[in-house]
C-alpha cells in the first residue's frame, strides 16, 4: 500500500462527509440575509465618536466642556 493509495482512500473518506441539509440551509440563509452583520455589536468608543466630528464641532464640544467646568468651579463656595 503506497502513499497514493492512502491519499485516495482519505480523499474518498472525506468526500462522503457532508454538512446536514438543515445546517447548510441555515448557513446559506445567514449569508443571504444581513442578520449576521446586523448582529455586530456597536464597538465605537467615546473617543472614536468624538474624532468622527469635524474640527469645528470638536472645538465646540471642547469649549462647552471647559465652560461647564469653569462655571461649576465658580459656583463652588
Amino acid at each position: 500500500m503506497n502513499d497514493k493509495h492512502i491519499d485516495e482512500q482519505i480523499k474518498k473518506h472525506y468526500q462522503k462527509k457532508n454538512l446536514t441539509p438543515k445546517k447548510l440551509e441555515q448557513l446559506l440563509l445567514l449569508a443571504a440575509s444581513d442578520s449576521a452583520k446586523n448582529n455586530t455589536p456597536e464597538t465605537k468608543t467615546k473617543k472614536q465618536l468624538f474624532l468622527n466630528h469635524s474640527f469645528k464641532q470638536q472645538f465646540a464640544i471642547a469649549a462647552s466642556v471647559c465652560l461647564l467646568i469653569l462655571l461649576t468651579l465658580q459656583a463652588l463656595p
Binding site: D3, I10, H13, K16, K17, L24, L28, A31, K37, T40
Partner: protein
C-alpha cells in the same frame, strides 16, 4: 464578492470537511464552521476557500486555548456506511476512521489539505504558518501511522 447559492454550498462543504479534519467530531466541526462563517459575514470578508480555512483554523486555535482542549481526541459517532465493491485489501471506512482518530490534529489537517484539497506543501506551510519541512514531516508521519494501523488490522483479520 457575492457568490451563487450553489458555489456557497460547495464552499461550505469544503469548510465543513476541513473543520472535520481538525476536530474529528461532527458537532464540533459544525460549530466551528458556523463561528467562522458568521465572523466572515460580519467582517464582510471575501467568501473564498483560503479565507474560510484560515478563519476556521483561527477559531479552532482560539477555542482550544480558551477551553484548554489542545489535544482534540473526541470520538465521533460512527455512522455505519456501506462497504460495497471493496476488495479485501481496500481500507475499510471503519479502519480508516479509527486510524484517523489516532492522528494528532495537526497531522490530520496536513494530510487532509494535501490528500483531499490537493494543496502543495508550500501552500500548506503558508496557510498554517509553519516551515515547509515541518509540513512534509507531518504528512509523512500521518501516512505512516495510517499504514501501520492498516497493517495491524489486516494481521488481526488473518489471525
Amino acid at each position: 464578492m457575492k457568490k451563487s447559492s450553489a458555489n456557497l454550498a460547495e464552499l461550505l462543504q469544503h469548510g465543513y470537511r476541513y473543520a472535520l479534519s481538525i476536530t474529528h467530531n461532527t458537532t464540533q466541526a459544525e460549530d466551528l464552521l458556523q463561528d467562522a462563517w458568521v465572523a466572515i459575514l460580519q467582517a464582510d470578508g471575501p467568501q473564498n476557500k483560503g479565507y474560510l480555512f484560515t478563519a476556521i483554523r483561527n477559531h479552532f486555535i482560539n477555542h482550544s486555548k480558551r477551553d484548554k482542549l489542545v489535544p482534540m481526541v473526541a470520538l465521533e459517532s460512527y455512522e455505519a456506511e456501506q462497504h460495497q465493491n471493496d476488495s479485501f485489501f481496500e481500507i475499510t471506512n471503519e479502519t480508516l476512521q479509527q486510524s484517523l482518530e489516532i492522528l494528532r490534529p495537526v497531522e490530520r489537517e496536513a494530510l487532509f489539505l494535501s490528500a483531499v484539497e490537493g494543496y502543495t506543501a508550500e501552500e500548506i506551510a503558508n496557510h498554517t504558518k509553519q516551515p515547509r519541512g515541518t509540513i512534509l514531516s507531518l504528512i509523512h508521519r500521518a501516512r505512516k501511522k495510517v499504514r501501520q494501523y492498516f497493517k495491524r488490522d489486516i494481521k488481526d483479520v488473518m489471525q
